[in-house]
Symmetry: C2
Subunit: 358 residues, 2 copies
């Protein structure tokens, strides 16, 4: 017999991107940073004391929150450290959305959002993005009409890389009546010339919750470390009531701190990724793909119409050559591939393989 709740019985769960065991494949399918984490992080790891492992960790990662707060120009009480950004998504659901109340997002988006909604037994309001991947003008009004309690905007958007500007986000926060979670998992790769900074929203809107992650920007996907930034009224209930008592382990807290403190090294990887992103876009366009302007560490390449087998064929052919990219078998993404930006030599191998195929 089954002991599962009825709504859990019905769901299928989230499928993570393929993680091939081999370390020799060219892995451009799960948006990892192609460069290693900073040596300061590795040094901190090697110097970790046994006593730090033996004892329970600080339950609220106070030291990390202090440094993160300073970096973002907010107070420590505005920060919650989480076991990956995914934990923050779940906590927002648990804290702000009753079962049977709705969540919403613009489609397509991160496929974990609807899974979290199903677990919470919450209906999902899906609002199609505009043709150019921007948010519909009346996004917030549509959410309000459906009485949505929590909405997600991933910015830069995945899988297109489209960046919504802060003025637009402000308009959404102003109008939307629920909690607006801005998922900035990829924000470190945004061109600094665009002067994107969503922190100013926190001063004016108490319903904004910003998600940050060390997975991509700091090359620490293996560490599971993210954090939320928001007004105290948003952060405190997650910190003191709904998160697991010791949600972030001691090693992660030390390494995350070392990573933020050596932000300069990470910033070098962001610049390198941006340079390669532009080069890759230029070459892909040359080959015949349609590429939107991406502000993330991946890009969305739409396969030329005249290509036999389309995106799925290319995805499978690349895989046979040990090159992994991401193919989504759904909706308007079916004609496209999401390609994480690799190191120059990895991107060269990809381009060579694509030229052969097209």
């Amino acid at each position: 017999m089954t002991y599962e709740r009825e709504n859990i019985q019905k769901i299928t769960g989230y499928t993570p991107g393929e993680q091939p065991d081999s370390l020799t494949v060219i892995k451009l399918n799960t948006n990892e940073n192609p460069y290693p984490p900073s040596e300061a992080v590795m040094r901190t790891l090697r110097n970790m004391k046994a006593e730090v492992l033996r004892r329970y960790p600080p339950p609220n990662a106070q030291e990390f929150c202090g440094v993160a707060a300073q970096m973002h120009g907010v107070k420590p009480e505005n920060i919650i450290a989480t076991n990956g950004g995914d934990e923050l998504l779940r906590l927002a659901m648990t804290t702000f959305v009753d079962p049977l109340q709705s969540i919403g997002y613009a489609e397509p988006s991160y496929s974990l959002y609807p899974v979290l909604a199903e677990i919470n037994n919450s209906p999902v309001v899906r609002i199609p993005l505009n043709e150019n991947w921007s948010l519909p003008q009346d996004f917030a009004e549509q959410l309000n009409k459906e009485d949505v309690k929590l909405a997600f905007i991933v910015n830069p958007h995945a899988p297109s890389g489209y960046l919504t500007d802060v003025a637009t986000l402000a308009r959404m926060a102003e109008t939307f009546k629920g909690v607006l979670l801005i998922d900035e998992a990829y924000v470190d790769f945004v061109d600094p010339d665009l002067h994107y900074n969503s922190m100013q929203l926190l001063e004016r809107y108490d319903n904004v919750l910003i998600l940050r992650s060390l997975s991509k920007g700091y090359s620490l996907a293996g560490l599971r470390y993210g954090y939320g930034i928001g007004n105290k009224s948003i952060i405190e209930p997650m910190l003191t009531k709904t998160k697991d008592s010791y949600n972030v382990d001691a090693i992660s807290q030390h390494l995350a701190l070392a990573a933020l403190n050596d932000r300069e090294t990470a910033a070098k990887t962001w610049r390198a990724v941006r340079t390669e992103r532009q080069r890759l876009i230029n070459h892909l366009k040359e080959i015949g793909f349609v590429c939107t302007d991406s502000q993330a560490n991946f890009l969305l390449a739409t396969v030329p119409d005249n290509l036999r087998g389309g995106a799925k064929f290319i995805y499978e052919s690349l895989k046979r050559n040990d090159i992994f990219v991401r193919y989504f078998d759904a909706g308007r993404l079916r004609g496209s591939l999401r390609i994480s930006i690799g190191k120059p030599d990895e991107n060269d191998v990809l381009l060579k393989a694509l030229r052969k195929l097209v």
Copy 2:
């Protein structure tokens, strides 16, 4: 304004044990193992490759599950690795208990259980333990009468250290109609002469879920690593549907594996703790405390009746001397102190301080 769900607004959350910053205090209040983790674990930590941090971790900790399965004589599909045992408790709630459905446990017990219930908006059925801390004969019947969907038995019991035998657990599992979670966070410290082994329950009962933790037995409280063992029908929905996609980070997976593979070193600490446990009990009885037989790495000492100020006074006096023990300001525990078993010299300092006070 607040965006919290109504039931979240009402709750106060879990209060972790005091974690003094100083490394010189004698800390006998949160049941850490007094001995450091194995050198094999520390070596694994120092040799961790940057590439392991850069990439996403294996989502289901397959390698760890394989080794744990072998150790317990079950299959890998019977194991789920979790971010501390606490995550398993939460997952069991999320997976098996609808909001407004009840959970149950014997009181007193781990104070996190009712907090998880409050988050899930689930009523709590509390059944008082017998005078000697054993489960009431009709525990399962009482749970069934209240239509409880998930029940917790912490075994050895906290804070008394009382061990319920497997035959009794089997009777409970047989009768109880919901999921029976046996929280074995302290089981490594059970006297091997008692031949306690709950794994045999899994063959007969599909409603049993056993919790294990590396926090105490393997001196890795800072790591946040636990796991659940149960029938596939119990494990699979948590593994594939309700847990966060990458719930256990890459470093933890490697270190947990190293810890299990060097179980012999951990077992030495278990023996040392058992020896000290008996010595401490003998001395405490001599001083005038009432101590029950404990099978955990802590003991419950009831303060002599004639002592002015009682347990609270002793707790506070010890704290002023930089000795931390646990005092519970609730119910039948008010007259007692829970004392984690320290190293011989730590226990000596404690005994000396107590002799002075009594």
